[in-house]
């Protein structure tokens, strides 16, 4: 168990010592101790604990498809939303949620964004996945095909003839796109 993680989780749990924690192990071997209501936002975790009778509080659930970096981002989002939820019934003002989300993604590079989409998909957090795919769609707004290819890091698998035909069909769509 990494000492840095242990210290970061202890600081966030200072409010309540009795709060139940769920241990989640990322692909690079770090163990995160996560407050139960936050961990339960991860559908894969919720069903793991709901479906397996022999798991205990000491069980460390391995998440081989999630990196430590992605996990930090995911927990930041889920913790913030848990905070918003706790303030119910005085629902968090829409603007406050939006301000959080805007600030949250501003700090994420394209690389981080894509890692988090893959992780959110794997962990099955529909709210976060909704939000992140919307951010990805926004980031390719008014961009060239080449930019979008680089953004997704995918290879063009069309033959030159196929691509030329596709582009001819949609020539009108490629005027005035951003150069970057």
């Amino acid at each position: 168990m990494s000492s840095s993680i242990a210290s970061s989780s202890s600081s966030s749990s200072s409010s309540s010592k009795k709060e139940k924690k769920i241990s989640l192990k990322t692909s690079d071997g770090e163990v995160f101790e996560v407050e139960e209501p936050v961990a339960m936002q991860l559908e894969i975790v919720r069903s793991f604990f709901a479906d397996n009778e022999d798991v205990t509080e000491q069980t460390v659930m391995p998440l081989p498809n999630v990196s430590t970096a992605a996990m930090h981002g995911i927990l930041e989002y889920c913790r913030a939303h848990e905070e918003f939820r706790r303030r119910m019934p005085e629902a968090a003002p829409e603007e406050e949620v939006r301000a959080f989300e805007a600030g949250y993604v501003d700090r994420k590079s394209n690389e981080e964004l894509k890692e988090m989409i893959l992780a959110a998909n794997y962990l099955n957090i529909s709210k976060l996945l909704d939000f992140l795919t919307g951010v990805a769609a926004k980031r390719i707004e008014n961009k060239s095909v080449e930019y979008v290819r680089a953004f997704f890091g995918v290879e063009n698998d069309f033959t030159p003839e196929e691509e030329a035909n596709l582009r001819r069909e949609y020539e009108w769509a490629f005027e005035g796109v951003d150069e970057d």
Binding site: D130, V148, V154, A173
Partner: protein, 234 residues
């Protein structure tokens, strides 16, 4: 970890959140998997997209100019199919009429064209033909829905005479078609009436008490509903 691990489901989720059609098209050309994700059904922002304004053609031309308001630029689209024709538009399609009164539906981007029955099938065609009203003959064409999205569509054409209160909106719901006039009156056309024969007589019911009956009758008399043949549907 790499985006190439993105599966089709995730790409579809992203495609569904793309707001501008241009971006949707660019996305579809990225790779074959993106192309599978960017099927028309996944473009959800059809109604909120600000329409392109079609510019009058400058004489004989193979292309048409469309002004794009959000980008403030004119796009030139290769569209020989509409050269020399009068065009109406509805739900992203053009309804074109040539000098010999042939009518077609034309998608300006995919250039899919659907021939419609010749206008001589219109009721009172002989009377109307002699009027030589090329410009004002048809007052309104409207599709019930975007053909790319659904196969079950109808085209309504209102023609002839002076119609004071043009229908401004046109909705098909279950077995009825609803027209809303510019003065706020609601016309209802029943589906049963449409399916009877080629030139459909249209019955109109009076669901609201405040209909303007004169206008209503004018429109009933002069409305023709086409049902494109099965094989013409996309």
């Amino acid at each position: 970890m790499n985006w190439s691990e993105l599966n089709l489901d995730l790409l579809e989720e992203i495609a569904r959140r793309i707001k501008l059609y241009d971006d949707f098209v660019a996305f579809s050309i990225v790779c074959s998997l993106c192309r599978s994700a960017a099927v028309k059904e996944n473009f959800r922002f059809m109604s909120s997209h600000i329409p392109l304004l079609m510019l009058p053609s400058k004489g004989c031309s193979n292309s048409c100019g469309f002004f794009d308001l959000p980008k403030g630029m004119t796009r030139s689209i290769l569209l020989p199919e509409c050269d020399g024709k009068k065009c109406f538009s509805s739900k992203g399609w053009l309804i074109t009429i040539d000098l010999d009164w042939n009518m077609s539906l034309l998608n300006p981007f995919s250039r899919v064209q659907i021939e419609l029955s010749h206008m001589e099938m219109f009721e009172n065609w002989e009377d109307l033909e002699t009027l030589n009203m090329q410009v004002s003959f048809i007052s309104k064409c409207a599709l019930s829905m975007n053909l790319s999205l659904r196969a079950d569509y109808i085209l309504m054409v209102i023609y002839g005479g002076q119609i004071a209160n043009l229908p401004i909106e046109f909705v098909k719901y279950k077995t009825k078609i609803y027209l809303v006039e510019s003065v706020g009156a609601l016309l209802v056309v029943t589906r049963e009436a449409i399916e009877e024969e080629t030139i459909f007589q249209i019955f109109v019911k009076y669901p609201e008490a405040n209909l303007i009956v004169y206008t209503l009758r004018t429109i009933i008399k002069r409305a023709t509903v086409f049902y494109p043949k099965e094989e013409e549907r996309i």
